[in-house]
Symmetry: D2
Subunit: 382 residues, 4 copies
Amino acid sequence: MILADKYKKVRKHTEDICRPLQVEDYVVQPVADVSPPKWHIGHTTWFFETFILKPNVPSYIEFDPQYNFVFNSYYETIGSRVIRTDRGNLSRPGVADIYRYREYVDKYMVDFISTAPSPVIADLIILGLNHEEQHQELLLTDIKYILGNNPLFPAYDLHHKENITTEAREGVITIPEGLHTIGYAGNEFCFDNELGRHQVYLSQYKIAKGLVTNKEYLDFINDNGYTDFRHWHAEGWDWVKNNQVTCPMYWHNIDGEWNQYTLRGLEPLNWNDALCHISYYEAAAYASWKGMRLPTEFEWESAAKQFAWGKRWEWTESAYLPYPGFEKAPGAIGEYNGKFMINQMVLRGASAVTPEGHSRDTYRNFFHPYLRWQYTGIRLAK
Amino acid sequence: MILADKYKKVRKHTEDICRPLQVEDYVVQPVADVSPPKWHIGHTTWFFETFILKPNVPSYIEFDPQYNFVFNSYYETIGSRVIRTDRGNLSRPGVADIYRYREYVDKYMVDFISTAPSPVIADLIILGLNHEEQHQELLLTDIKYILGNNPLFPAYDLHHKENITTEAREGVITIPEGLHTIGYAGNEFCFDNELGRHQVYLSQYKIAKGLVTNKEYLDFINDNGYTDFRHWHAEGWDWVKNNQVTCPMYWHNIDGEWNQYTLRGLEPLNWNDALCHISYYEAAAYASWKGMRLPTEFEWESAAKQFAWGKRWEWTESAYLPYPGFEKAPGAIGEYNGKFMINQMVLRGASAVTPEGHSRDTYRNFFHPYLRWQYTGIRLAK
Amino acid sequence: MILADKYKKVRKHTEDICRPLQVEDYVVQPVADVSPPKWHIGHTTWFFETFILKPNVPSYIEFDPQYNFVFNSYYETIGSRVIRTDRGNLSRPGVADIYRYREYVDKYMVDFISTAPSPVIADLIILGLNHEEQHQELLLTDIKYILGNNPLFPAYDLHHKENITTEAREGVITIPEGLHTIGYAGNEFCFDNELGRHQVYLSQYKIAKGLVTNKEYLDFINDNGYTDFRHWHAEGWDWVKNNQVTCPMYWHNIDGEWNQYTLRGLEPLNWNDALCHISYYEAAAYASWKGMRLPTEFEWESAAKQFAWGKRWEWTESAYLPYPGFEKAPGAIGEYNGKFMINQMVLRGASAVTPEGHSRDTYRNFFHPYLRWQYTGIRLAK
Amino acid sequence: MILADKYKKVRKHTEDICRPLQVEDYVVQPVADVSPPKWHIGHTTWFFETFILKPNVPSYIEFDPQYNFVFNSYYETIGSRVIRTDRGNLSRPGVADIYRYREYVDKYMVDFISTAPSPVIADLIILGLNHEEQHQELLLTDIKYILGNNPLFPAYDLHHKENITTEAREGVITIPEGLHTIGYAGNEFCFDNELGRHQVYLSQYKIAKGLVTNKEYLDFINDNGYTDFRHWHAEGWDWVKNNQVTCPMYWHNIDGEWNQYTLRGLEPLNWNDALCHISYYEAAAYASWKGMRLPTEFEWESAAKQFAWGKRWEWTESAYLPYPGFEKAPGAIGEYNGKFMINQMVLRGASAVTPEGHSRDTYRNFFHPYLRWQYTGIRLAK
C-alpha cells in the first residue's frame, strides 16, 4: 500500500474505534496504566507533529504550544509533561478540540507525504503508524477497563467480537534439541527490540498447540489455586493477598454463576473460550499447579509457525532484556524500547484487539508481571 | 416564598451554574476533595429521591436502583457507595442521563409539594434545598479547582465576579468583657450545629473591621514568612515543607509578576482584593507574624453585626465541636453534621460564591486545617 | 525542697525506672510515637546541657557535639536532628555512653546549682525537671508498648502497680449554671498553656464521680459497639475499619477469656478496674452509646475538686487551643506547647505512671485522637 | 573435612563475626532489607532446629515454641511469623537468650551428627551450613549498614580488610562465538538454582579483566552521569530522582573531599579500589555512558576462569530465571530459591565478606535492581 493510503487508513481506524464512545468516556483514567481515550487520540497526533512536521516542514505552525506538555507520554528528550497519573484530571483540551488538532495535523501530514519524503523520514512515518496501531490496541484495552469497572457495566458495542472460542486444540508440539535463529529477518517494518538476529541453543521441549481455556482455569480455582502458596512466586503470593485476588479480572460470580465483562457488556462465561486477563503471577502459578511451565520467548518463537496464535498475548518465562547487539537509536526515538528493559516480562503473539497485520512471530510485547488489564493468556510448555 | 417556588428556584440555580461547562468538565476529580460536577448534580437529586420521594410517595418508581450506589455521599445508614476517590473514575451515568434523572425527580417533587406535605416533611425539603445551596457553592469551588489546575487555565466565565475589592476598612472594633449569647435564635431554617443557644463569657478583645488583603499578605511572603518556622504550628511547618508551599493557592509568579487564577482565567493579582485560598496553617502563621491572632468563633459571632462579611470564609481559632446540648437527629439525617466534629476548624461568614441568603452570622462552616481550595481568608483579632 | 535536692531526686527517679530493663529494651522504637528508652535518658540530659549549661556555664565543655543532633526532639531553634522515626535505628551512642553523658552533665549541673543561679535560670531548671517528669511517664508508657507488643509478652516488673481497682463510685455531681474561673492561679510551677486565667460560663451539667470500668466497656463491645457506625465520628469509623479495632489496646481474647497486658505481664482482666488505653474515638463512641458525652476541659476543671482523679488521663471534648492571652515564650522554650495547638484533644487528670505531684487540676495534657498507648480512660458527662 | 568439624567451624565463624558488636548493635533494623544481627544468629539456629532436629531427633525438646514465630524468615510451609519489617521492633528474646538457644541447638546437633545421619540428612545439614555462610555475609553487610548509617560513623573493626585495591587489570578478554555449557557439574554442594547444566550459544563478546574502579566511576559523576536521563532505564531514572541519588552508597563528600564509610570507619576514598555499593540501575547507566554493557550471566560464567573474581558481586544483564529443567524440592526446602525468580537480577562472583570457599563460578546470587547495601560492583562487556 502506498504511504499516503496507509496513513489515512490507520488514522481513520483510530477514529472508528472511538465512534461508540460518549464524550464522558474519553476523559477518565481509573488507574494509572489506563489512559483517557482523548489522551490517546491527542498523543498519536502529537507523535506526528513532534517527530515529522516540526523538524521537516518549515511552514508548519504548531497547533497549540501547550499541547506538547499535555500529550508527551514519556519522552524526556522532548521536555516536561503532565505526570502520567494526572492525565485523567484534565478536562481540557476537550474532545472536539483534540479532533480539530487531529484534522489539522492530518492535513499537513498528507501534504507532506505527497512531497515524497526521504526514506529516513518515510521510515519514521511508518514507525508513527505502528505506534498508532499499538495505541489502537491500548484504546480498546483501556475502554474495556473504563466501562468494565463502572458499576453500571455499560456495553461498548453489543456486536463486538473480542473473545473467540478456540478450536479444539489438544496436544503438544515437540521441538528437538538444537540451535534456533531468533529475531526479525525480513525487509518490512519491525521494532528495534526485534533486531539483532542471533542463535539460541534450546534443549528439547514441548509446547501446547492451544491456549488454556476458562474451563481449565476454573479447575485451578476450584482446587484452591488462589489459597495454596506453593504454586506462587513469593511476590505473586503477596500480590494475591494484598489485592484479595480470587479470579481473573472481569470475572464476576453473581449468585453462584460465573459472568464475565466483555466489550458487549456482562455475559455468562463461555467455558471453551481461551482464558484472558490474568497476571504473570497467575499464569506461572497455574502452570506450576499443572506440573508444567511457561515457554521462554525463544521456545515460543521457534515453535510459532506450528500453532495458531493471535487470540491472546501469551506470557513467557523470559524477562524483557536486550538482544545481543541491541542499540538505542539516537535522540527521542531511542526512548522507544530500551529504557523499559528491566522488571518486565515478555509477551508473545497478539490479541483479538490488536490491529490486523500489526504483529509478527518475532514481536516482543512486555508488561509488568502484576498487570491484568491487557488481553493476556497462557500457553503451557514443558 | 412558597415552597414550590423556592424548590424550583434553587434547583434551577444549580443548572445555571453548570451552563458554561463543557461535558468533559463535568467528569474529572483532580483531588479527593473536589467532586466531579456531574456527581454534584446527581447527588443533590438523590437527596430528594432518597429522603423525600421514596419514604413518602408510594407511587414513586426509583429512576435507577444503581444510582443509590453512585450518588450516596457518606450516609452509612443508606448503604454502600462508590468510594469518594473513585467519583472521577466513572464516565457513566453520563451528563445527559443525570439531567434526565434530575428532571424525573423534579417532576415528582413538584407534584408532591403541591399536595401540601406535613410540616416535618416540608422541613426536610427545606433542609434538602439548603443542602443543595451548599453544593452550589461547592460546585463553583470545585469548578475553579478543575479549571485552575489545568495547564491551559481555561476561563469558566469571562464576566464572573468572584473577587471583590474590599472597601478601605482600616481599624478595629473593641468589644468589652462580658457575657454573649451564641447560636441561632430565629424561626427560619438553620443547621443543627447552630442550635443550643448558650452563653459564653469573653474577655475584652479587638477584631479587625476588614479582611487581610493580598498586599498585606505579600509583605508576609517577602519577609520570608514561608521559611521561618517560628510563625507556624509544628504540623503546619511540616505541611509547608512537604508540599513546598510558597504562596496562596492559585497565585502564580510568572516572570516576576504575580498572577492569580480566577473564574475569569489567569489575571494580574489585584493587591487590594481580600486575600483568598489559604489554609488554616497559613492564616495562623500570618496572624502570628503580625503579632495578632485569629478570632474564636464566639468572638466572631459576637462582633459580626459590626462589620461587613460575606466575601471570604474566615478561619477562626475554634475547633469544630458540639454546642452544649447538641443532639444528632435520628436516622440518616443525623449524619449531617455531628460525625464530622473532630480535627476540623470552624470558618465563619460566607464567600462570594455562596448563594445569596444562604449564610447567617450563626452559620458554622468547617474544614480540615490544610485545605485551601475553598474561598478562605483572614480577619485578625487580638 | 531545695533545688539541688529536687534535681538529684528527679534525675535519680529516671534511672530507677530503667533499672529493670535489659540493654536491648533501651534500643527499639516499634512505632513512631514510642521512643527508645535510651533516647529518653539522653534527651532529658540534653535539655539541661542545651538550655542551662551551654548558655550559662562558660567553662562547660560539650560532652559530644554529635549528641545535639541525636537528642534534640523537635526544637527547630536548636538546629537539625535525627528524624523522629529514625530514633530506633541508632544503636549508638550505646546505653553505657548515654549514662556517662548523664553523669557528666549531672556533675556540672549540681555544681552550677550550688552557685545559686538567678531566679530566671532557676525557673528554667524547674522547667527542665518538670520536662523530665513528663519523660518519666513517657518512659513507662513506652516500655509498656515495647514489651506489650512483643510476642513473648515479657514482664517489666512483676510487682508493678499500674492499674488500681477504682472504689465503688456510683453517681454524678451536678454543677449549676454560672461563671467559673479557669487556669492556674498559684505561685508554684505550671506550664505556659495553663496560664491566662479567665472566666468561662457553663450551662448546668452533670459529671460522673468515677471512671468507666472494664466491665462497663465490655457491655459496649458485646452490644456490637465496634460494628455500629452510628456511635462513631466519621474518621473514628474509618480508623476502626482500617485498623480492624475490636477492643482496647492490650486486651487479648485468648480461648474466650479476656486478658490484658500490664507491666506485670499478661494477666486476666480485672473487670472492676478503670478502663484504659482507648482512643478519643472510642471514648466518644462509648459515651454516645451510653447516651452521654465527654466533659469539656472547663467542665472537668470546674468540678475536679469534687472527685478523685489521677488514675487515668481522661479524654475531654475540648480541642487543644490557646487560652485567652496565651503567648509563646521567646526562643527555643517557646516551642514547648504553642506549636502543637492544632488537631489534638485535651486530656485532664494524671495516670498511675505519672510521677507523684507532677500534675494539677489545671494541667492540660494533649494527644491526637487516634492514640491509645497512653493510659487513657473515660469520665462521662451530660 | 568431616561433617562434625565443618559444622563447628561454620557455627563458630558466625560468632566470631559478632564479637566486635555492642549489645545495642544486635537489635536495630534501619531498613527492611537489613535484619538485626541477633535475628541472624537466631534464624540460622532455627534452621537446624526446624529442618534437622525436630523431624529427626525424637528426644529433642524445642527450646522455646515462640522462637518458631520469631525466627522463621519466609517459609510459608512452617507457619506464621513476625513480619519482616518488625524484626527490629523486638527487644526480646535478648542477645544472651539467643546465644543460649544457639548453644542448646549446637549440643543436640553435634550429638546427632555423631550418629552418622543418612546421606539425605547429611545433605540437608550441608545445606544448613551453606545457608549459614550466606547469613555470615549478610551479617557483615547488615552491620556495615547499621553502623555506616549512624551519624557517629562508628567502626566495626579498625583492622577489617573489606576493600582490596585491584591489581592493574587493563584490557579485555575476547571469547569467540559458539556453544558453552552452563551450570554446576561437580560432586560437591551447590544450590538448586545452579543445576540443570545446559548448553547456551553465545555470539562473540569481550569482557573486561578488571572491575570498574572508584576513579573511573568518579568520571561518570563528574560528567553529570546522575543528571543525564539518557543513560538510565526509565525506572532507574525515577529512582535517581525520587531518592536524590548523586553517588554510590557510603560515599560522603565532606568539604569537597570524597570519603567512604568502611567497616574501619570513615576514611578517604581510595581511587584505585574497585567501585562498590551501587544499584543495578547505576551499573547499567555507567556501562551505557561508557558505550559498553553488562555481561549476561552466561557470558560471565563462560569467561570466569580467565579473570580473577571474588572482590565484589558483579551485576549481570540477566534476570533471575530458572535454568531448563529446574524443579523446586518438595516441602519447605523448595521455598529456598524458586519462588524468588521474578523481578530480580543475577549477580555473579563473590565479595570480600563472602566466607572463604562459599562461592563458585556457577553460583547465582540475585537482588532487586534498586538495592545497594550489598557489596556490588561492575564488570563491563561488549
